[in-house]
């Protein structure tokens, strides 16, 4: 009957309702995440730096601009497929793409990158060129690049950059440096050497020399990137071209130091945290209950063995041992869960044993026994139901500690790299010194999420506490 009381405690108290609501929302979100993320998200996406190469590094979330009024460039990305115009020029076919880009006042992008995919040609390798047409109609030739021609012994038609796209970080490219040098000399009569230009490529591309003559003032307005390819034969060309202007702010949750979109990692951490919490809680509580019942009801040698075993396991500090085993077996989430289960049951086994000892001497059990019920029947039909509410409460109570334990391990760098968790995000933030540089968006959200999920279980256990511990049930004193 007390199961029903638990249900009531969850559904009819504000604390219980809040906990249930929060848990259901998390479960729904987790299901969505699991359904929509690729299976090997951890290995193929999250831990793969190439996947994040076009993102700004350590950028705060985009909404920060509404909070502080600092000028920050939006992260901008444009992909084009088919060329807009193709014209014949001599023996060449010139294909052109016009990609407009708007620069907000003062918001110079952090970097500029060009990615070209799927280049194919019959004989002559295509030439690629990128020109920046600025708001004041000046033109900067940013890049000229020849795709690698036929290798010795290779037969046409040739395919290039199908598996590994051609990616050029324009803000750090040597040929961009030299063309900028030329541009400055021609347009403004400025002589600067490559080393002077290198750190301020973006300022030069998106600005004009200021009055003082030693810096560049950002020039906001409408820019156009003109991308062109020169090919020989019909059918030669590229699959797609992509331009990225790195922002100073990115996405909903910002990025970390290798440009990972933290929003994705944080979302992925939710189902992981829930699975860790629930699986560890369910299994360790089951083990504890079964062993406690057996120990208390059977007594004798079995009792002694189980109690000694729980004494030992309970007295070994779990974390040092976990560190140890993970180091030996290798960081693997299954191992972490397994060890957490193996070390979370003893307390419960001891408590359940005491409860069973009390019950065993009760008149109910005595009566059932004298009616000839077998030991297993007594345990299963008469003792287990009485322990059930306690069992449920313990599951809810164990879940958050499992989540916190995993976070702690990940924080030590012993997390499973193929499955990103909040602890790992925190660890990366701490290891790269994010705390001291003030990358709050990297540290605060995973921390808060851990606390939030753990608190949800805490709310649930707070709600059912009076049911499980009837002695706590007390009506308000009439004073």
């Amino acid at each position: 009957m007390r199961i029903r009381q638990i249900r009531d405690a969850l559904l009819k108290t504000p604390v219980g309702l809040l906990g249930l609501l929060s848990l259901s929302a998390q479960v729904v979100l987790s299901v969505w995440v699991v359904a929509s993320y690729p299976d090997d998200f951890g290995n193929r996406v999250w831990s793969n730096p190439i996947h994040w190469v076009d993102n700004p590094k350590a950028a705060p979330p985009a909404w920060i601009r509404r909070v502080d009024s600092q000028p920050r460039a939006d992260h901008w990305q444009a992909v084009r497929g088919e060329p807009e115009t193709v014209e014949e020029k001599g023996r060449n076919l010139i294909a052109s793409w016009n990609i407009p880009y708007t620069m907000e006042p003062e918001a110079v992008p952090a970097f500029l990158a060009l990615t070209v995919r799927d280049v194919r040609f019959e004989e002559r390798a295509p030439l690629l060129a990128l020109t920046l047409i600025r708001p004041d109609e000046t033109r900067v030739s940013v890049l000229r690049h020849a795709v690698r021609g036929p290798r010795e012994g290779e037969e046409g038609p040739y395919a290039r950059h199908f598996d590994d796209p051609l990616r050029i970080q324009l803000s750090a490219d040597e040929s961009t440096l030299s063309s900028l040098q030329e541009f400055l000399a021609e347009e403004y009569g400025l002589q600067m050497d490559a080393e002077e230009i290198r750190p301020r490529v973006m300022d030069i591309l998106f600005g004009v020399p200021d009055a003082a003559g030693d810096g560049f003032a950002p020039m906001s307005g409408e820019y156009t990137f003109l991308f062109q390819t020169a090919t020989r034969a019909e059918g030669d060309g590229i699959g797609s071209v992509e331009l990225v202007a790195g922002g100073d702010a990115f996405g909903r949750m910002g990025t970390d130091s290798i440009g990972r979109d933290l929003a994705q990692g944080l979302l992925y951490g939710l189902p992981t945290a829930l699975v860790i919490g629930v699986v560890v809680a369910l299994l360790s509580t089951s083990i504890g209950t079964v062993l406690g019942m057996t120990s208390g009801y059977l007594g004798g040698t079995v009792d002694t063995v189980i109690q000694r075993l729980s004494d030992i396991v309970a007295n070994i500090p779990v974390l040092p041992l976990l560190i140890f085993l993970l180091f030996i077996i290798g960081p693997n989430l299954t191992v972490i869960i397994g060890i957490l289960i193996a070390f979370s049951w003893p307390g419960l086994a001891i408590q359940v044993r005491v409860m069973v000892l009390h019950m065993r001497s009760s008149q109910l059990i005595e009566a059932v026994q004298s009616l000839g019920s077998s030991r297993w029947r007594v345990m299963y039909r008469h003792i287990l139901p009485q322990i059930m509410p306690y069992f449920l409460a313990q599951i809810i109570f164990t879940a958050p500690s499992a989540i916190l334990a995993e976070a702690g391990l990940s924080f030590l760098g012993l997390g499973d790299p193929s499955i990103p968790t909040w602890g790992q995000i925190l660890e990366a933030g701490f290891r790269t010194g994010g705390v001291y540089v003030g990358y709050w968006w990297w540290i605060v959200p995973p921390g808060l999420l851990i606390v939030m999920v753990a608190s949800t279980f805490m709310l649930l256990s707070l709600a059912i506490e009076p049911v499980v511990n009837p002695r706590l049930r007390q009506t308000r004193r009439a004073d």
Partner: protein, 333 residues
Amino acid sequence: MVAYIVRRSVMLIPILVLISIVSFTIIELPPGDWVTYQIENLRASGIQLNEEEAERLIKMYGFDEPVWKRYIKWMRGILFKFNFGWSFQWGKTVNELLGERLPLTLLISILALIVSWVVAIPIGIYSATHQYSVLDYIFTFFGFLGLATPAFLLAMVLAWNIFKYTEFSPLGLFSIEYMDEPMSAEKFVDMLKHLVLPLIIIGLNGTGALIRVMRGNLLDELKKQYVITARAKGVNEMRLLFKYPVRMSMNPVISTIGWVLPGIFSGEVLVSLILGLQTTGPLLLRAVLAQDMFLAGSIVMILSVLTVLGTLLSDILLAVLDPRIRYGGASAR
């Protein structure tokens, strides 16, 4: 009383033996051993090492004997010569290293335990005597929030904020200016200042649970007949509260040492790592990562043994406080 203590102590012996076996298993678990690893290292760096010399090295460190012989050798060293073995990584004896680190671990752990009691017991008493009051709800709220917050996160956030707003760096045990000075009054005060943060973080970690235990027990006691009788007789309310129900409800709190200590030792590893404290925690982590197995196994064993001793201590304390345990069934734990 003496008989009770002796009985409890004797019961610990099998546990201690098993813990030592578990610790030794840990030492033996990693594939390969330190000597093989070093021999390979020497060969890789081009030093000619013939089979004989390798054999000699293996013999020197005793890796040629069967597992059980090595276990006995290790245990004999510990029991009779108080020698935990040799740390390959540091080139020092394990005793020497532990001598440097263990006192601080113990200091922090015991003080943290005291902090958590000093905070939890009064709050538990207040919450029970003022059940469903505003403060009870507030304490409950913060208690549960504390249970849901990882200690290392708290350490990180607090350390950073203290540093940001007070210019005082809470990392390490001493400020830089006192690092090489001999112990003095100022250095001691400086050390206390550095200890406050870890103590609060490690201590408050288990406080939430302790408050719940204390509150629940006291509520239970307060409903009993003897309280009503005493009240009816006109016993002063404060005296009534502290003389019997509080004493009774402290028992389970004291017996929690057993499960609070492992938690404190575990929590200490992470917090010390973040706050840069020279305790056994970071030492253990480094020992594990460097396959320095005697050191790592010794630390795990010593921490486990300390926990067992803590449990014994709490049992004795219980017996002192509660005559029923002293005279009757010792199974009430």
